[in-house]
């Protein structure tokens, strides 16, 4: 099973990287950019076919390490049958 995890700075918190990227996009002429959030993504290959167990495990990984939940939110997407 493959877990795709994305971690983003919380919307209410200033994201200096996102803001700098937004400025660069505007400089390139993309003048309809409202906001950019710069985050991280992780592909985690798991040795299980049990989606419930995988979801629980990856949620714990996010809470403990992958995201800092004081300033970041995370999303988990599980993809079945993936081989690394």
């Amino acid at each position: 099973m493959l877990a795709k995890v994305t971690v983003y700075p919380r919307r209410e918190i200033l994201d200096p990287q996102g803001k700098a990227i937004q400025g660069a996009l505007e400089g390139l002429g993309f003048d309809q950019v409202d906001q950019v959030r710069a985050g991280k993504s992780f592909e985690i290959h798991l040795d299980t076919t049990d989606a419930g167990q995988a979801g629980e495990m990856v949620g714990e990984m996010c809470e403990k390490l992958l995201a800092n939940t004081v300033v970041e939110d995370y999303e988990v997407e599980l993809v079945e049958g993936d081989e690394p």
């Binding site: 200096p16 803001k19 991280k40 992958l66 800092n68 004081v70 300033v71």
Partner: protein
């Protein structure tokens, strides 16, 4: 006072702190390896500045889960002294020993310069060498020192008197211009509710001798020695 300085892969201020503790304030200092889990009887544990684990994932995130941090957690829970400077502060936040989190500096650059700080309290083990309201000057050198926390958490730590250092201008005003990294409420240093754990972004160990350009960091270390002496005396 026995002082253990934790060495993480990528730490680069470990020797500076060791020098300040051993040669400037004359204490017993030694290094502790992050992969061990024994504080070797340390009264004070210092998490020094640097780039532990290359700042991978988030600054301090991986170091927060090293074996030595388990021993540091126990030491802190027992009321032991823990000082985190710069990357050490980031590690304390990531390990949950202090509230809040760090973001990239708002100007998206590495800030390396002397800043003015206001000492908010002189009744912590770390600040008895200063007077409350005193303005001091210390160097900062970091890219991720933009302290953030939800508003309720900020209100809580302010009410509990946990904000110890704030970025100010030379006149002691916590202005936006003086806020070197964009930290919420100009916060530069925070203590735990028990007062025994301090995290701060500025580097007191880089200002302990005139040859370094200033001595405003010296009262922190000298004050710690005094505090430890008082703690031992109080324990009988």
């Amino acid at each position: 006072m026995r002082c253990g300085v934790v060495v993480f892969p990528g730490a680069n201020c470990d020797h500076d702190v060791y020098h300040a503790l051993k040669h400037v304030v004359g204490q017993e200092a030694y290094f502790l390896w992050h992969g061990d889990e024994d504080l070797k009887g340390a009264d004070l544990v210092v998490l020094p500045g640097g780039f532990s684990y290359g700042d991978y994932l988030r600054a301090g995130a991986l170091a927060a889960h090293s074996p030595m941090m388990r021993a540091v957690q126990r030491h802190a829970a027992e009321g032991g002294l823990v000082l985190g400077i710069c990357n050490g502060f980031q590690i304390l936040l990531e390990s949950g020993l202090l509230p809040g989190a760090m973001r990239h500096n708002r100007r998206q650059r590495f800030e390396c310069r002397d800043v003015h700080l206001k000492v908010e309290r002189s009744d912590t083990p770390y600040t008895r060498g200063y007077s409350a309201g005193q303005v001091i000057s210390l160097p900062v050198a970091h890219a991720e020192g933009n302290y953030e926390a939800p508003e309720e958490m900020l209100d809580e730590i302010e009410a509990a008197g946990q904000v110890v250092f704030r970025y100010v201008d030379a006149a002691g005003e916590a202005s936006d211009e003086a806020n070197v990294n964009g930290s919420a409420r100009n916060i530069a240093g925070v203590v735990s509710s028990g007062g025994n754990v301090l995290g701060m972004m500025p580097h007191p160990e880089r200002a302990v001798e005139q040859i370094l350009g200033g001595t405003d960091g010296l009262p922190l270390f000298a004050g710690l020695v005094e505090s430890r002496r008082a703690m031992v005396a109080a324990a009988g």
